[in-house]
Structures are given as structure tokens and as C-alpha cells.
């Protein structure tokens, strides 16, 4: 008797699940490969938070075309091998329509052959120029190219009539890519690099490099790295009484840098996405609205303002949302609609994708900021 009841209950349950599956439309599935833990967690953590926040927000507003959005997030820990395994899982087991991430250039390069073979659109949140150059059929990205940041700095140096510079770059992927671009673009701006120094990501004292730079004929120093190295460099430069102007990369455009470098951060100039100076932008700025909405929304959910890095995930999710709204969630349709995206006002800049350009940004994506009284100020 009991056996019969259980069997019939089970049958009912199965019938019910099948029926409800048919009634409600299938959710739209997007995969995310983010370095939530591990060394690049300063990228992956805000990216994950942003993706989760947007998922709830979009579903509360009725989903995409009446269907709910489901973001499946795997933590890659910044490890290319894990990123590749997770990408395979997303494509083969989870059947996602598109993927956002990975967070770093190294992981993205490892995942590219997989998405290219499977024909699934990927919007990377990493900055490396080789991700979209040469253009790959299925690969897009939202983080600004290093070369755009370099151009911004060189523009400013030219305005100040500086043509001899020193560079101090970190010996990891971010630093070597920046170093490459700094050297590549220097000539076309009439700039000579008179001193080319390197430091390790875990180094605790950079006075030796700065003394060497101080003794060179450089008129300005450009440092390329992510926290905490550049903060140590700023402190060492102050200790040694370095008088030349100090420029940094967009890798330190977060409040954490000011906190770490303290007084030594005063007067440092760096290119940054608009997000950290959102409230200072003139009303005419086309991105201002999206930026303020993102920063405030993030603050409401996580008690800190949204940053540059989470912005890459915001752009990726919202670009996908737009593409799916216009053309449905078939991978090929998403890819086509992404290529047709024009004037998308995102966090990282105003995106204009095309079949030839899968990065979509110009150097206007960056503004120059400086640090005054422990806060960001726009450089006019």
C-alpha cells in the first residue's frame, strides 16, 4: 500500500515538473568565468557582484523579452586551466547562449580557441589588446585597451612639452603589456624612453629603481602596475624627494590606491574610466546617467561604490541584454546583434562594435584624473 502511494506521489511530482517546464518559458542562460578568488580577485570580485546584482535587477523588471535571465558563474581563481575547464562545462553541460569573462588576459587567450570552435559569443572583461586584435569571430571585450590609456598619457605629456620619460612597470601580464604599448607608441608622439625599469609584483622596496630614474635625464615617470606595487612606488618617490611628475596606469584607479599611498598619492596623474569621477562629470557627458545609476545601485547592494572593474561586467551583461532583446538568444544571432551595437552608453565608455572592431572604444573612454586632498579630481 505504502509503496503504491509513494510511486503515485513520485509520478505526480514528475508530471508536475514537466508540465511547469512547458508552461514557463525556458530561462536565458549566460555563463560567467570570473576570478572571484585568487590573485586577480580585485577584478573578479566586483565583476561577480555586478553580474549577480544585474541578474536580480533584470528579472525583477520582467526579464529579457519576458524570459528570466540566469547567470551561471564559475570561479576561475585567475588560473587559465580552470578557466578552460569551466568554459567547457558552460558550453557542453549548461548550454549557455553566451559567456562573459574571463577577468584576465591570460585566461581569455586560453578560452578563445574553445569558444571559437563551439561558436559561442564571449565578452571578455580583460584589457589585453591581443584579445580582439586580430578580430576573432566570436570574441568581444569591454575593458579598455592599454593602448588607449597610453595615448591619453602621451597626449598630456605633449601638452606639457615633456619628451624624455622613464617607465617603471611590473613584471606580470598587465605590466608587460603596458610596457609594450608605452614603447610602441612613444615614437609617434615624439617621446623618448630614457630609462626602462621593472619591479616584481611582490616587491616591497623600489627605492633602487627610483634612484636610478632620478639620476637619468627623464622629465616624467610613468609607472604601470596594479596595487599594491604602485602605492609603494609613490611612497618611495616621496621619500627620495623625486621632483618629476608621476603618472600611473588605470590599474590603480580605485580608492584603495589613495588609502595605501596616503599623502604620497597627492598630485599623481592617471587615466581612468569615468566611473570614479561620475559625479564630477559635466551634465553634457553622455555616460553620466548610466554611471551614476551603476555606482548608486552597487552602493545600495554592497555598501561600496561600484568601480571600474565591476563596470566591465556591467557592460558585458548589458550588451548581451541589448543583443538578445533585438535578436533572440541563439548564439549566432547574439554575435550578429553585438556587431550591430552602436552608441551603447556603458560604464567603460561608449561602445561602437562592428564586424571589424570587437573592442568598440576610442581613447575618449579614458579621462585623466589627479589626486587632490585624498580624492579624485578631473584634469582639464
Amino acid at each position: 500500500m505504502l509503496k503504491k502511494i509513494i510511486t503515485s506521489l513520485c509520478t505526480l511530482c514528475i508530471l508536475f515538473t514537466v508540465a511547469s517546464g512547458v508552461l514557463a518559458a525556458e530561462p536565458i542562460k549566460i555563463g560567467a568565468l570570473l576570478a572571484v578568488t585568487g590573485p586577480p580577485s580585485f577584478l573578479g570580485d566586483p565583476e561577480r557582484n555586478t553580474a549577480v546584482m544585474l541578474e536580480t535587477q533584470i528579472n525583477n523588471a520582467g526579464g529579457i523579452n519576458g524570459r528570466t535571465l540566469k547567470v551561471i558563474i564559475y570561479d576561475t581563481q585567475g588560473d587559465a586551466t580552470k578557466a578552460v575547464q569551466a568554459a567547457n562545462r558552460l558550453i557542453k553541460d549548461d548550454n549557455v547562449s553566451a559567456i562573459i569573462g574571463p577577468s584576465t588576459t591570460g585566461e581569455t587567450m586560453a578560452v578563445i580557441p574553445i569558444v571559437e570552435a563551439a561558436g559561442v559569443p564571449l565578452i571578455s572583461c580583460a584589457a589585453g589588446i591581443k584579445i580582439t586584435e586580430p578580430t576573432k569571430k566570436w570574441v568581444f571585450k569591454t575593458a579598455q585597451n592599454d593602448s588607449l590609456a597610453v595615448e591619453r598619457i602621451y597626449d598630456h605629456l605633449k601638452k606639457r612639452n615633456i619628451n624624455k620619460i622613464a617607465i617603471l612597470t611590473v613584471s606580470d601580464g598587465f605590466g608587460s603589456s603596458g610596457r609594450e604599448q608605452l614603447k610602441l607608441k612613444a615614437e609617434s608622439f615624439g617621446i623618448t624612453i630614457v630609462s626602462d625599469e621593472i619591479y616584481g609584483p611582490k616587491d616591497t622596496d623600489m627605492t633602487a629603481q627610483i634612484v636610478k630614474i632620478r639620476g637619468s635625464k627623464a622629465q616624467a615617470l610613468i609607472c604601470w602596475g596594479t596595487n599594491p606595487g604602485p602605492a609603494t612606488i609613490a611612497r618611495n618617490a616621496k621619500q627620495l624627494g623625486l621632483t618629476m611628475p608621476l603618472y600611473m596606469s588605470h590599474g590603480v584607479s580605485s580608492k584603495k590606491f589613495i588609502e595605501l599611498a596616503g599623502d604620497a598619492s597627492e598630485g599623481i596623474i592617471l587615466p581612468s574610466g569615468r566611473v570614479i569621477v561620475a559625479h564630477m562629470l559635466p551634465k553634457s557627458d553622455k555616460q553620466k546617467k548610466s554611471l551614476l545609476a551603476y555606482v548608486n545601485n552597487y552602493k545600495k547592494h554592497y555598501n561600496v561604490g561600484g568601480d571600474h572593474f565591476g563596470g566591465h561586467a556591467w557592460d558585458a551583461v548589458m550588451l548581451l541584454k541589448g543583443a538578445i532583446e533585438r535578436g533572440g538568444d541563439a548564439p549566432d544571432a547574439i554575435r550578429k546583434e553585438l556587431e550591430n551595437t552602436r552608441n551603447f552608453r556603458g560604464i567603460g565608455g561608449i561602445f561602437n562594435f562592428s564586424p571589424q572592431d570587437h573592442a568598440g572604444l576610442t581613447k575618449d573612454a579614458f579621462v585623466l584624473v589627479t589626486i587632490k586632498n585624498g580624492n579624485w579630481t578631473l584634469v582639464k
Binding site: 602605492a231 616621496k238 627620495l240
Partner: protein
């Protein structure tokens, strides 16, 4: 800015980092001498020193001197606990197994620190301001003088403890011959516990005095630990002046190498020295080769 001033700056910066390597190296040597294992968790106590001070000072609003005192105390307790839970239960285990256990311990401590404090980098306030001090054309921070001063005190105290106190002498006796020591009534198990406690305290002290200059995060221990290991190897794992000299040599050569040769090779320099010493003089630079008595 002439070259001699630059070189002075390299040497002073190098001495300051070298002093830290020396204190960490002493920690390695003390444990090696009483247990003949290399405690690869040593770097994690450096991290604990900095992070615990930060926790007591910034999160619990205690005064800096008191926070430092508590941090050393807690780190010492963690070191002693580590010995009780992981090293002491394995009686007569092969040193290699114990070394691997210390590596496991270091990963565990680092992981717990990551869960407790997150992955961010934090900064500890300088002990006495951040106005640079000019010294014959080179500039140093007041914190550098704290590093020199405290390192000197640690070295002297270390010497006094091991040569003039009964516990210290007992510990040295154990390092020469464990069986004979236990025969004359020395409690060998206690000396092992002591050596772990002392070297954790040393590591924590190093971590605290360097944190205002270099900042601290859950993973600073790895690199500093390895550099301290280099110092101890150069000093032939001696608990005294050899290891101190080893640390200073590594620090100064790194700094000179980065300044005069190429900054890209800074870390390579320390490890090239390490390999050369291991190949050519495995007994250390300052130790006359001794014969193993059977």
C-alpha cells in the same frame, strides 16, 4: 645626484630590507637547530605579525604599542599551538615529512588569514611620522631606523638568551646532541616547543616593523619567508651572526643589483646566491666544514 650618493642610497635601502631577512632567517635557524627541520611556515608568522597588529590597532582601536605587544603574543601562541598540534604528535618522524607538514601548515595559516581579513592590502601607520631623513645625500624614512634599532635589539637579545640563560643553553645543547641532552635531564620536547614559540615571535616582530613601509596582506609571507630562508642558508643555519650577515648580504646585493645592473633581475639575484651557496658551500659561507661524527 652623483653616483656615490646613489650607491649609498642602494646600500642603506638594502640594509633595511636585509635586516628583515636576517630576523626571519634567525627564525629558520632556531627551529632547524633544535629539530633539524626547515619550518616553511616561518613566512606566515611575518604576515601574522603585520595583520594582527593591524587588526588590534585599526579594527579594535587599541594603541599602537599595545597592539604590537598583543600581535607578538598571539603569533607566538599560534606558533606554539602549531608545534603542539602538527609537529609534536609525530614522534620520531622523518624530517622530510615534518618539512612537508610545515608547508601544509603555511597554506592553512594563509588560508585562514585570507578568510578573516580578505584579499586586500592594508597599511599600518608609521611608528614615528613619515618625514624623510637625509643622511649624506641618501634619504631614509624614520621607520628604517626603527627597523635597524629593533633588529639590533633582537640580535643582541638572541645572543644573550642562547649563551647566557639556562633555557637557551639547554636548547643549544639539544642542537648538538639530542640523546645526550635528554640523558643529562634536558626536556627535549620543551625545547622544541620553545624554539617554535621564539621563532614565531621573531617572525611576527619582523612583520610588524616592516608593515608600515611595505604594507601587508594575507600573502606577504611567501616571498619574505623565502628570502629569510636564503639568509639562513648563507649563514649555514647558524642561530647567530652568520644568518644576520646572510640577510644583510642578500638585501644589499638585491638593491645594488636592481640599481646598477637591471631591476628585472632583482629577485633572481637572491635565488642565484641561494643556488650558488647550496652548490658550492652547502655548509654556509661562514662555517668551516665540519666532520660528521658517527
Amino acid at each position: 645626484m652623483d653616483l656615490s650618493e646613489d650607491i649609498l642610497q642602494y646600500i642603506l635601502s638594502g640594509l633595511s630590507t636585509g635586516a628583515i631577512y636576517a630576523v626571519i632567517g634567525l627564525g629558520f635557524a632556531i627551529i632547524y637547530n633544535s629539530t633539524s627541520i626547515i619550518n616553511f611556515a616561518q613566512g606566515e608568522f611575518v604576515m601574522l605579525g603585520g595583520m594582527l597588529t593591524l587588526f588590534f590597532h585599526v579594527t579594535l582601536f587599541l594603541s599602537l604599542p599595545f597592539s604590537i605587544f598583543l600581535a607578538v603574543l598571539v603569533a607566538t601562541a599560534v606558533g606554539a599551538l602549531f608545534e603542539r598540534l602538527a609537529i609534536s604528535p609525530l614522534k620520531n618522524a622523518d624530517p622530510l615529512i615534518l618539512v612537508i607538514i610545515t608547508i601544509g601548515g603555511s597554506i592553512l595559516i594563509r588560508g585562514i588569514a585570507m578568510l578573516l581579513w580578505g584579499k586586500d592590502t592594508y597599511v599600518l601607520p608609521m611608528f614615528s611620522g613619515d618625514e624623510p631623513i637625509v643622511l649624506w645625500g641618501a634619504t631614509l624614512m624614520p621607520q628604517n631606523f626603527w627597523i635597524f634599532g629593533i633588529t639590533l635589539i633582537i640580535i643582541v637579545a638572541n645572543r644573550l638568551f642562547f649563551h647566557h640563560s639556562i633555557i637557551g643553553k639547554a636548547m643549544r645543547a639539544c642542537s648538538f646532541n639530542r640523546v645526550a641532552s635528554s640523558l643529562v635531564g634536558i626536556n627535549v620536547k620543551h625545547t622544541v616547543l620553545f624554539s617554535f614559540a621564539i621563532s614565531s615571535a621573531l617572525g611576527a616582530a619582523a612583520g610588524i616593523i616592516i608593515a608600515p613601509l611595505t604594507m601587508t596582506s594575507y600573502d606577504v609571507g611567501i616571498m619574505l619567508g623565502l628570502k629569510g630562508f636564503c639568509a639562513a642558508i648563507i649563514g649555514g643555519m647558524s642561530g647567530g651572526i652568520g644568518t644576520v650577515a646572510g640577510g644583510l648580504i642578500v638585501g644589499v646585493l638585491e638593491s645594488l643589483g636592481a640599481g646598477l645592473i637591471s631591476s628585472g633581475y632583482k629577485d633572481a639575484i637572491a635565488f642565484i646566491i641561494l643556488l650558488l651557496i647550496l652548490f658550492l658551500r652547502p655548509q654556509g659561507l661562514f662555517v668551516k666544514g665540519d666532520t660528521e661524527r658517527v
